[in-house]
């Protein structure tokens, strides 16, 4: 399963929300990845997430593989909304 977002936050994804995303993704059984600019990193890696250097307008896709995949994506979605990071992109 996967879901794509367009970054709208003027700071991109900075350390605090990145911490929240990585901590959350690590709580689930699924393997979770993030993909942006044709690069894919594990969501266990905060350096990986920050390495994208995401800016407003950039797209990022979260990919979850495993039994609780939809729960992971939902949890990540909540962080996106709470931190006003970006919006779902069709």
């Amino acid at each position: 399963m996967q879901k794509t977002y367009k970054i709208t936050n003027e700071d991109g994804i900075h350390a605090r929300p990145a911490t929240a995303l990585v901590n959350t993704a690590s709580k689930f059984k699924s393997e979770v990845f993030a993909e942006a600019n044709n690069r894919k990193v594990t969501m266990k890696s905060i350096l990986g997430v920050l390495s994208f250097g995401l800016e407003p307008g950039d797209l990022v896709t979260f990919i979850a593989e495993g039994e609780d995949a939809s729960e992971v994506l939902e949890a990540l979605d909540e962080i996106f909304a709470k931190e006003s990071l970006g919006i779902a992109h069709a």
Binding site: E10, A15, A18, T19, S45, L50
Partner: protein, 570 residues
Amino acid sequence: MLNIKGIAAAAGYAIAKALVLESTELSVEKRTVQDGDMEITRFREALARSIADVEKLKQRTLEQLGAEKAEIFEAHLLVLHDPELLGPIEDKIQKEGINAEYALHEVSAGFISMFENMKSPYLRERASDMKDVAKRILSHLLNAKVLDLAAIHEEIILVAEDLTPSETAQFNRNYVKGFATNVGGKTSHSAIMARSLEIPAVVGTKEVLEQVKDGDLLILDGMKGTVLLNPDDATVAEYRLKQEQYEAQRAEWAKLRHVPTVTKDGKHVELAANIGTPADVANVLLNGGEAVGLFRTEFLYMGRDSMPSEKEQFTAYKAVLERMEGKPVVVRTLDIGGDKELPYFELPKEMNPFLGFRAIRLCLERQDIFRTQLRALLRASVYGNLRIMFPMIATLGEFRQAKTILFEEKAKLEAEDIPVSGEIQLGIMVEIPSTAVLSDLFAKEVDFFSIGTNDLIQYTMASDRMNERVSYLYQPYNPSILRLVKMVIDAAHAEGKWVGMCGEMAGDATAIPLLLGLGLDEFSMSASSILPARSQMSKLSAEETRMLAAKALGCGTAEEVVTLVQRMDI
């Protein structure tokens, strides 16, 4: 006495002996190792000790400075567990047969240069976090002693190349009176930390570390951004006095943070802040702002390649309304055109951009842009106390047209069963003289006025304030401006409406007694001006300022007005 100049990063004064923090560059030698597994075990032990350190720092920061400041260590812990860092290091040790120190150095250097090359200034700063974490693991690998800043027990000013988050977190502010560094800027981690610790700091001096020796007497001037090395007695005495006055003033401001703004004879006015992004709200609340008097929405449209969607705007407006917790938020609709351009929205060049196609004029023609913004605002309205304000209104017709469009969008949303607040106040910026002159008629139709002095002054005086040869005509205290302001306030009050001001003049110490005397209801300024303004107002009498304003209206020149205010002795 040597005067070392830098960047004023945190306000205040400190006078104390220097403690120089030599940047002990831990040297890393490349060695080959025979037993890779043993080397990896050694690395993991150093890692475990580093994790224990950071856990302790996080706990300590949590207790002393709160959850927000402790978040940085949460991120450091994730880095210490990061597979993208640890995997490559252990691979290198195993496959290349090199020592842990060198493998760590190589891999972390890759991440440091990655951050240093990022476009966002914020992410560039993260290089210092990576250095911080790498240095910690390295010092454990080398069994090097790390200077224990928590053990400082005499009053000092720290002098260093730079200070890492883990260093600043250990400061005991009873002893660390301030710091000066060679590198950094206003948004460096160390600068932010100094402001939250409320100790003065001067950063980016380039040379303080080279000039200062342990035990030298220093004066740190966090206002001007200077470090005075070995000052004479007279200078020390002068700064002791400044320090006392500043401390007294700060204590007074702190007391005013959570109290309403009231004059000494009991008149209440509202002190609000001007903001540009949702992130600015934190600073408004920290400085005791009672409202947001001007939320400039242009930031939403800038630094991108297409117009922001309704949903994006909704998210930003909702964030501001929620964070203000029911306090009023005045949002100004889009004010672009003229000198403010958007890369994806081309407008023909104009001879007189300030008199041209901009703000409401543009929005009424490009209604697609305007309606999207209004819908986003209306949808966000249920999350707080929203007030909508149209910029650059010159005629009643423009206001009526904008209002009609707003009501059309409101009706559409209601037809879609999307909730909209029924209490949204609707106002206009008064920045064009025609509107000020006709304010009695506007006042019957709007809920409030906000006087935009920057433009009102330049339009009234017919003087471009960016043009140095005529900038002397930019005269906030000119009696003509004061009379226009009075006209607007009286017109609003006659209809039971309120008047705010959101130009630079609203936070100006000379203008405040005049505006108070003219009956202004809301003053909106930069967040950092709020507490000084509240302090000033608490010492003023509304009655006395009314007499002052009446006299000022009879003055012939701006200079006469200024003299009048100065003579009031406040």
